[in-house]
C-alpha cells in the first residue's frame, strides 16, 4: 500500500494514520509542566510577588504593583485528559483592581532554534463561578537578553497578542506569531483585570494544557511521562533530604556531599529546613555549591556519635 491522503489525514504504508503535522514531534512543547502536574514547592501560594514568584514548577505569578490578594493553587481540572489545572484567583473579599498575571520564562538555550519561525501557543482555560474580570490578555513575548524573567525582558516584544474572551466552560484557545530575528528569549504572559469591588468565593481563571510549539497551527498536547516532566523541572528547582552521621570531635567539620538528581542550569541557591542535630553546631556551612552537587558540614561540639539531617532546596530559576 502506498501513502494515502483522505480528507485531513494521511495513512502511511504501515497502515498508521497521522492527523496532525509532524513538525516538532517529540518534545515539541517548549513549556515545561504545561499540564500543571508538578508542584515541588507546594500546592497553594498566597500573595505571590516578584520576590516570591514561583508557584507550580516553572510558573511565576504576581499582581500588578505586587499588591496582596492573589492565590495560586492546584485543582483537579475536571477536564478530560488533564488531571490538574492551575487556578489564578483573586482572594475572596479582595477589592483591589490590580491585574493578576501568570507567566512562563523559557531558558534562552531552548529558544534559538525558533528564531524566524512561526510558533503557536495553545491552552485550555475557563473562569470560576464568581469571575469578575473581562477578557484574558495573552502574549507570546520575545526578548534580546539572556535568561531573564518574562516581565523584565530586555528588548521586550509582544509579537503575538490576543484579547481573549473566556467562559465558564473549558475551551482550548490558540495564538500564533513569528519569532522575530535576534530573539534570544521567549515567554508566555497572561493576565486578567478585576474591578475594584469585593471578590466572590471563586473569582478565578483556571488554566492547563499550555503548549508552545513550532509551526503555525496547534497540534495535540504533548503527553510526557511524569518522571520526564519532573526531571525537566528539576533543572531549575529540586528538593531532597540530607543525612550525615558518624563519630566526630569538638571543632571538627562533620558533613558530606549531596548529589542532585538532575544537573542544574547553573550553581543553585541552597536553603535548609527541618533540621535535627546531635553534637553538632546550629549552622550549616557550605564548602562548595556546584551544578551537580553540594558539599556541606557542621562543626562538632563534642567527641561523640554525631548526626544531623535536614531538608534542602536547590533553586536556580530564571
Amino acid at each position: 500500500m502506498s501513502i494515502a491522503i483522505s480528507g485531513s489525514s494521511i495513512t502511511f504504508a504501515d497502515l498508521t494514520t497521522q492527523i496532525t503535522a509532524a513538525v516538532g514531534a517529540g518534545f515539541k512543547n517548549r513549556i515545561y509542566n504545561g499540564d500543571m502536574r508538578i508542584w515541588q514547592r507546594g500546592t497553594t501560594f498566597t500573595n505571590p510577588t516578584l520576590a516570591n514568584y514561583y508557584t507550580a514548577d516553572r510558573w511565576g505569578a504576581n499582581r500588578s504593583s505586587d499588591v496582596n490578594g492573589a492565590v495560586v493553587s492546584r485543582i483537579a481540572s475536571g477536564l478530560d485528559g488533564f488531571e490538574y489545572a492551575l487556578a489564578l484567583q483573586r482572594a475572596s473579599g479582595n477589592t483591589s483592581a490590580e491585574s493578576l498575571s501568570l507567566q512562563y520564562s523559557n531558558e534562552s538555550t531552548n529558544t534559538y532554534d525558533l528564531v524566524g519561525s512561526p510558533v503557536t501557543l495553545s491552552f485550555w482555560a475557563k473562569t470560576g463561578s464568581n469571575y469578575s474580570g473581562g477578557p484574558l490578555f495573552v502574549r507570546i513575548r520575545s526578548g534580546t537578553g539572556v535568561d531573564q524573567r518574562v516581565y523584565a525582558y530586555t528588548g521586550l516584544n509582544d509579537f503575538a497578542a490576543s484579547t481573549q474572551a473566556i467562559t465558564s466552560t473549558w475551551t482550548r484557545y490558540f495564538l500564533t506569531g513569528t519569532v522575530p530575528s535576534s530573539t534570544t528569549q521567549l515567554g508566555f504572559y497572561m493576565f486578567w483585570t478585576p474591578p475594584a469591588t469585593a471578590a466572590g468565593a471563586d473569582d478565578s481563571v483556571y488554566i492547563t494544557g499550555v503548549q508552545l510549539e513550532a509551526g503555525s497551527s496547534a497540534t495535540e498536547f504533548e503527553r510526557r511521562p511524569i518522571g520526564t516532566e519532573l526531571a525537566l523541572c528539576q533543572r531549575y528547582f529540586e528538593k531532597g533530604k540530607f543525612h550525615s552521621a558518624g563519630v566526630g570531635s569538638s571543632g571538627a567539620g562533620l558533613g558530606g556531599s549531596l548529589y542532585f538528581r538532575v544537573e542544574k542550569r547553573a550553581a543553585p541557591t541552597m536553603a535548609y529546613t527541618n533540621t535535627i542535630t546531635a553534637f553538632v553546631g546550629a549552622a550549616t556551612t557550605n564548602v562548595t555549591i556546584a551544578t551537580d552537587s553540594v558539599s556541606l558540614y557542621r562543626i562538632g561540639t563534642a567527641t561523640a556519635a554525631y548526626q544531623y539531617q535536614q531538608d534542602w532546596t536547590a533553586a536556580i530559576e530564571l
Binding site: 535568561d147 550553581a267 541557591t269 541552597m270 549552622a283 556551612t285 557550605n286 564548602v287 555549591i289
Partner: protein, 57 residues
C-alpha cells in the same frame, strides 16, 4: 543583608548567606540571587563578616 562564609581552613568562601532567609548563594553569574548580591555591593553595601568556627559550634 548578606554574610560572608569561611571554609574549614579559615579562608573566605565564594558563597554568601542571604540573612533574611538563611539561604546560601554561590558566586555564579548565571544565578539571579548572585546577580542581586552584586547589585547590592555596587550600591555601596558591605556583607557581614563570616562566623568563626567557635561561633558555629
Amino acid at each position: 543583608m548578606y554574610k560572608q562564609t569561611k571554609k574549614l581552613d579559615g579562608t573566605i568562601n565564594t558563597i554568601v548567606i542571604r540573612v533574611q532567609d538563611n539561604s546560601f548563594i554561590p558566586f555564579d553569574l548565571e544565578n539571579t540571587d548572585y546577580q542581586a548580591y552584586l547589585k547590592w555591593l555596587a550600591e555601596g553595601n558591605t556583607p557581614l563578616p563570616a562566623d568563626t568556627i567557635e561561633e558555629n559550634k
